[in-house]
Every structure is written in C-alpha cells, then in structure tokens.
Amino acid sequence: MHFPVAPPARPRLDLLDPFEVSKLGGLEVITEGVVEGFLAGIHRSPRRGFSVEFAEHRMYQPGDELRYVDWKILGRHDRLYVKQFEEETNLRAMVVCDASRSMAWSGSPENVLPKLAYAQRLIAALSLVLLRQRDATGLITFDDDVRTVLPPRARLSHWRQLVAMLAALEAGQGTAAEPALRRVVHHLRRRGLVVFVSDLLLDRDLALKALRFLRHRGHQVLVLHLMDPAEVELGGPAEARFEDPETRAAVVLRPRDWAGAYHETVRAVVHEWRLACRRHGIAYHRVTTDTPYGVVLREALAPSPRAA
C-alpha cells in the first residue's frame, strides 16, 4: 500500500534566526527568501485592502477580487478592468534608517547580527513587501547627519537600488534623527508611511518632536526600536568600564550587581517610548536583533498602527 508523499517543506527564512539566515547568502537573496516565506505564510497582504477613494482603472489580472471588477466598463466595452483606489496606488513609504555607530554594535558578534546588519535585512524585506504591493518606497539613512536619500518609487526594479544602497551602508558616527525625519516631508508630499528603524539611542525629545511633526502631516509612522539582546540583559566581566562608542561616555560598574536595575531601566525606557508613541498615534515595536524577520514584518505590517 502506498501513501502519497508530501513534498519536503521549504524552510521559511522569515521565521529563522536572523543570524543563521544571514549566512545563507547576500542581502538581496536573503531578503527575497524572507519575503517569499512571509508572503506565503499570510493569505492576504494586510495592505491589500482597497480604500474607498477611487483612483484609476487597470486591466484585470488573475487573482484580482471580482468585487473590484468594474462591471460598467465590462458592460460598455466588454473588457475586464478593476478599480484601484487611493491607498493602494498612492501609498508612499519612506524608511528612515539609523546608521550611527551604535547601530554597528553587537553584544555577541558570533551569535547575533549587529543592529545595522539586522536593519539592512529587515528594511530590504519590508521594502520588497511594499514594492510588491506597488507601494512607492524610499529610504533615508542618517547618522549625525542625513547620509543618503532614495526617493520613493513604486517600480519593483527600484528595490534593487534600495538594496544596493543598503548594502553599501556603513555605520557612521553620532545620531541626529530629527533632520532625517524632517527630510521625509520633502519626499512624502501626500500622506504616507514612515518607518523609522533605529536603536533610539538618540535625543528622545527631538526625535519625538520630529515624529509628531510627521504625524501632524498625516503620515502613518512606524517606529522599529532595534535592541541587541545584550542591551536588554546586562552582562560582561566582573567589573568593566562601559564606554559609549558614539559619545565616549563611560561608566565603571560590576554588571552582576547592576543587571537587575539596568533591566528595570531598559524596561522603563521602552515603556516610555511606547507610551509617547501611542499618545501621538505612532506605532512602536521593540525588536531585538535575534527576532526572526517574519515576526517583525507581521507586526510592522499589521492593519492599524494605532493598534500596535
């Protein structure tokens, strides 16, 4: 008696450990794998919903929902067109990526990607998802100043440019998020989506002020707060001089004695960010760099930023 044998399941890169995934190939390949896995894991893109504001028609393609078929045109011209609405066609996303020196840090380089490397892969995956939805996606990187700007485009080929920019990205020096965030408004003249990827080791008030400004301009804002696991749980030698790679500020202490208090401080900082973001309608997600990309994408692309 023979039973049908199921084909071997392809591993879903979006759910694997990011460090392990990073060993599989280049940024582009990996990102595509991640996005494929991510998209295969969901039945509908959370942004595939059509808004009620009509924008234009386009030719019907297999897979399009029949409810969006314009029956009037079918009746008049015997051609299948589907109606496209504002959000679908006009979503313009700008990813703002922190490339300061602190982002290049990993508490365990043998096991965990640096925050910047994680951000590169995450942004590439997110951009691919957005571009596949025909959402125009751009990229701004910054450290102590705006370093690179890639205006949003909806062409899928634009993703190559974006990935190339990400791949060329290296950690800079300090962190000044406000100019980069304000720069977004030059490229998102209509309402759009701003994804701010940073370790948030910056001037919180200034950054929040800029984020509030973006919200004020009608943009949806998503903050992905990247943290290395070693930044969440303090470790290290019996006594050490901890030095900030950006500011060179240092403090000497015994990690064992301070781990508990430090953990509380981190928890409080995250809580304060979350509260501040929620207060202004900003979606906030704390992301540790050992979190699989799929998990982050699912949270980031959830229907309502306010629910984040």
Partner: protein, 596 residues
C-alpha cells in the same frame, strides 16, 4: 587608660588598610567594554548612586572596623573597671608577711592563720589567665598557678626571718616590671611599724592588715656572752629586752644543761646573770622568758667558749701592746707564760709585728720561711688606709704597713684587710702576722676603744687558731673563715668550703669545724625588731607607699584585683567583630540584591 596584654599585636593595625588597598587595587584598571546603551547605565546608576556610595563607604568602614576589632582583640586591651566581679588577666604578687611577728596569737588565733585565710581569699579570685607569684619572708618570689600557691599558702609556716616590707614591695615591683599584664601587689601583713620602710611603687598596692591591735609583747633583744673565752671562773650573760610591756619580766638564762639563773628585767634594760665556772669547751647559752603571745622572741641562744686564759709573753711587743697585755693580765684575761709570744717569732704560737728597723725584715722573712709560714712581709706601704670594718678590728686608720704576701699560690688565713682587700692580719698555722706595728705612728688601733677587745681576741683566740664568733639572723649569709670545713648544729651537720657563704635557716647555734676541731660559732636569732608589734597607721602607710589601699584582712579578698582590675575588652571586641562580620555580609548581600 587602656592597657594591652600583647601590645606588639597592635602592629597588626596596619592590616586595617587592607580593605582600602584592595578597594583601590580593584578599581585600578577594569577592562573597557564598548556598550552603546551607556545612557541606560548612567540612568540606572544615577538613581542608586547616592545609596551605593553610602553602602560602599559603609562596607569599607565595616571591613576596616572588623580588622581593627580583631587586631585590638588580639592585643588584649583592658580598661580600668571597678565594682564588677570579673577582672582582666592580671599579674599579682601576693606578699604574705610570715615574719616572726606573724606568730603572735591574738584572741586565741595565730596571726598567720588570718593572713593565710586572707591569702586564700585573694587567690580564690584569681583566674587561670592571671600570673601569680607568692612572696614570703624568705624573699624568694615563687610563681605558680592558683592551686599551687594555695597549697603553698596552706603550708606556710612562721618564718624566723624578718621581712622588710619596703624591700619586699620593691622586689615584688621588680617581678611585675617584666610582666606585660597589668600588675598589682597584694600585701597581707600585720603591718609592724618597725618593718614598714619606703618603697617606690609603679603598680597598685593593696594592703591587708588585721583589724585587731597587736597585743603587748616582750621579747629578748640581745644575749651577750661577754669577752671570750670565759675562764674557769665562769662569766656573765647579759639579757636585753625589747617590747612594749612596762612591768618587770622574769628572765632565765643557762649554759648548756646547767641549772638556769633567773633575774627580773625591764623592757629597754638588761639583766646580767652571773654564770658559775664550767669546764673548758664550747657551750650553748640560752636565755628565756615566760611564754607570751609571741613565742619566737621568748628564747635566744648564744655560744660561750670556755678555756684557760692564754699565757702570753709580751716582752718585745712594744709599749702599747705591752700596756694592753698588762691590763688584760690584771683583769684575768691572760697570764704571763710562753704559750703565745706577742711581737716576735718564737717557737710556739706567735703574734708577729713587722720590725721597726727595715733592715731586720729580711731576717724575719727568712725565719718565717724556715718555720713554713705561708705568709711573708713585703715592701712597706706608706699611704693611709682603713681596715675592713670586720668584727675583729672594726674600722680604724692604718698609716703605715707592710704588704703581707703569700708565699704560695693560695691566699688562706686572712683575718682582716685594709681597704682594697689587701691582707693586714693573717694567720698561718700558729703564727699570726700583723701588717702594722701596734703603735699610733702605724695605726690608730692602739688608741682606739676597740684595742682591748682586739688584744683579748688576738691572744686568746686568734693565736690559738680560733675564729671570731658571729651573730646574725636566720637566712643572713655568713662568710666562713678559710679554715672552716664543716658546720654543725646539734645532730645536723653540713660540709662547707672555707671562704664560702653559709646561711643558718633557723635560730640556733652553729659550730664551725676545722677538721675535728671546733674553731668558732655562729649564732642565729630572730631580729630583735620583731618583738615590737606596734602596727603602723594607715596614714603612715599611705605616706610611704603612694596610692596604697589599706583594707582589713577580711576585705582583702574582695579588694584584690579591683584596684588593678581592668575590664577585659577582648570579649566585647570579638562580639563586635562578629556583629561587624554579620553586618558586612548582610549589607553585601543586600547590595547585590537590592538594585535588581
């Protein structure tokens, strides 16, 4: 004032710097770790910094104090403390005055029994950590544990030796000077006024004294036997009394086993008892009183030498010696004859003076050598000197003399010396050599009061090979003459070396033997001051012994160790160290737990 039992241990206080040094060393160069979220660390530490600094300081303080407490405990600190039963480890010299006066019976109880009871009470308060000495009238400090000293106290007899309390306290102070522990002297005494003498004390002194006044007492202060030897006609014994009784006291004295003679004597006076003639020989003389509260001073012994007077030829003796011999003859102390030749070397016993003419010295020395004499006359000495203050000559000035030189390697037979130890009167066999002629131009002796007794002893005893009689107290050292080879007291006897020291331990007559011949005697009697039982007042005691605390014998036990009693701080310090250690552990664990 804090004292330390082991002050050298205080050097360990340097270890108190260890926590600080460790702290500094540990903080010197920690490794640098790159960490972007320093701002979170700063925020974390800012919140707890003040408390942590306080905890750090507190920990440092606790650890330093812990070491200091341990080091101080090792050094054994003590503090003055009164009115508490315990005491710190101390050094105590217990001085028990068991001198003859302690034998007095008061209200039916011997005084020494009270002293022993008080001593037991003092020792009962001693702890095993105390250093204890017992000092009695024999002036030998004995160290021992409490039980050993209790046994010694229980067996302590009345000593025949006098105890000078000032000297005893000085000795006790010397004993304590070598002791690192706080010291104290506890003196238990009848506080005889005659025994109290000044003492410079550096340690606390507790004086325990009886409350009852001493009884009236009369004792024999002296027993004099007069010039020796006695002749066939007998002699006289003179008995002097000491004490504080006003009435007449019957005194009896006797020679050997002859019937005693009795007389009535008064304190401060003397009774002379004529003793009839007895055969030649050495006789024990004894004087006695009726028994009273102090028995030891009711009897005194002496020695009488009875022998025919010497038959002396003094034709060439010189004017002063001849005059003395005539006086002695007139008093029956010598007779004319050829037994002893005074002034020149003759066939029998000879007392030889140096010749007036130096030219005759050589012939004299040759004659002495031919006689086998161990001494000869040396060169003349013209510088003035003085004799040695010995019992035979006393201290008289010598203006001229000849050196007396031994012909052999030894120097035996020296009877008197001049200052510096040069022989002045020597004997070899039956020849006696004088370094100076018995004339005022040579020595002051012929014109001194001691000349007649000297001449008496010279012809009657020294020329016959006998030595002087000595009188002393039990325990006093007596230098024996060269020729003495043994000492005998009653049935007991000791082999001795001539020139050595002999200590008669008990009252009595000790005969000096040269081979089988008795050549002299030592009499040992208790010090006559022991008969004076009057006690010194507390004021006198405090004046002579600064800061002395005078208590009754009954209170001595409680008072002992309290003047020098010092609270032992080791216990509290160890407890403090334990608490500090617990505090350190608690704080350290709290510190590790609290910031979490």
């Amino acid at each position: 004032m804090i004292d330390f039992l082991h002050p050298w241990a205080l050097a360990g206080l340097a270890a108190a710097a260890i926590p600080v040094l460790l702290h500094l060393l540990a903080r010197r160069e920690p490794p640098t770790v790159s960490f972007p979220a320093v701002r979170y660390l700063v925020a974390t530490t800012r919140e707890h910094q003040r408390r942590l600094k306080l905890q750090h300081l507190l920990l440092l303080l606790l650890r330093t104090l812990l070491i200091v407490a341990l080091v101080l405990a090792a050094a054994g600190p003590t503090l003055p403390r009164r009115g508490v039963p315990g005491h710190a480890p101390s050094a105590l010299v217990l001085v028990v005055d068991n001198s003859p006066s302690s034998g007095v019976v008061v209200a039916g109880t011997p005084r020494l029994r009270e002293l022993r009871a008080a001593a037991r009470r003092v020792l009962a308060r001693a702890t095993p950590e105390d250093a204890l000495w017992l000092l009695t009238a024999d002036a030998v400090p004995r160290r021992g544990d409490r039980q050993t000293l209790l046994d010694q106290v229980d067996a302590l007899p009345v000593s025949p030796r006098r105890m000078d309390l000032g000297a005893a306290l000085g000795l006790a102070g010397e004993v304590l000077a070598a002791e690192s522990r706080p010291g104290e002297i506890a003196l238990l005494t009848d506080l005889q006024a005659s025994a109290v003498s000044p003492a410079d004390l550096a340690v606390p002194l507790l004086v325990g004294r009886p409350e009852e006044p001493p009884p009236a007492n009369v004792g024999i202060a002296r027993l004099e036997t007069g010039p020796q030897p006695w002749g066939a006609g007998g002699g006289r014994l003179t008995v002097s009394l000491a004490g504080d009784s006003g009435g007449g006291t019957p005194v009896s004295a006797r020679l050997g086993t002859r019937p005693p003679r009795q007389a009535l004597a008064h304190v401060g006076g003397a009774a002379v008892l004529a003793i009839p003639g007895v055969p030649s020989g050495w006789w024990d003389a004894e004087a006695q009183l009726d028994p009273d509260e102090l028995r030891l001073d009711d009897r005194r012994v002496g020695v009488v030498r009875v022998a025919p007077v010497a038959r002396v030829s003094w034709d060439s003796a010189g004017r002063f010696a001849a005059a003395a011999c005539e006086v002695l003859e007139a008093n029956g102390r010598i007779a004319r004859g050829g037994e002893v030749s005074l002034g020149r070397l003759a066939r029998g016993s000879s007392i030889v003076q140096p010749p007036d003419d130096p030219a005759a010295l050589g012939a004299l020395n040759r004659a002495l050598a031919a006689r086998g004499t161990a001494w000869r006359f040396g060169p003349p000495m013209r510088e003035a000197a003085a004799t040695d203050s010995g019992p035979l000559v006393g201290r008289v000035r010598v203006l001229r003399r000849y050196q007396l030189q031994p012909t052999g390697s030894g120097r035996t037979g020296v009877l008197a010396t001049v200052a510096g130890g040069a022989p002045w009167l020597v004997r070899s066999g039956n020849v006696v050599l004088l370094g100076s002629r018995l004339e005022p131009s040579w020595t002051d002796l012929p014109v001194s009061a001691g000349f007649m007794p000297f001449m008496d002893a010279l012809v009657n005893r020294l020329a016959r090979g006998e030595v002087s009689l000595a009188d002393g107290a039990p325990g006093d050292p007596v230098t024996l003459p060269d020729l003495v080879s043994g000492v005998r007291q009653g049935e007991r006897g000791w082999r001795v070396e001539g020139g050595g020291v002999f200590r008669p331990n008990e009252p009595g007559a000790y005969y000096l033997l040269a081979g089988e011949d008795t050549v002299g005697a030592i009499t040992a009697n208790i010090d006559p001051r022991e008969s004076l039982l009057a006690a010194a007042g507390d004021a006198q005691v405090r004046r002579l012994w600064k800061d002395a605390r005078v208590v009754s014998l009954a209170d001595a036990g409680d008072a002992a160790f309290s003047s020098a009693a010092r609270g032992d701080l080791r216990g509290p310090l160890l407890w403090a160290a334990l608490l500090l250690a617990l505090g350190e552990m608690a704080l350290a664990s709290l510190w590790r737990r609290q910031p979490r």
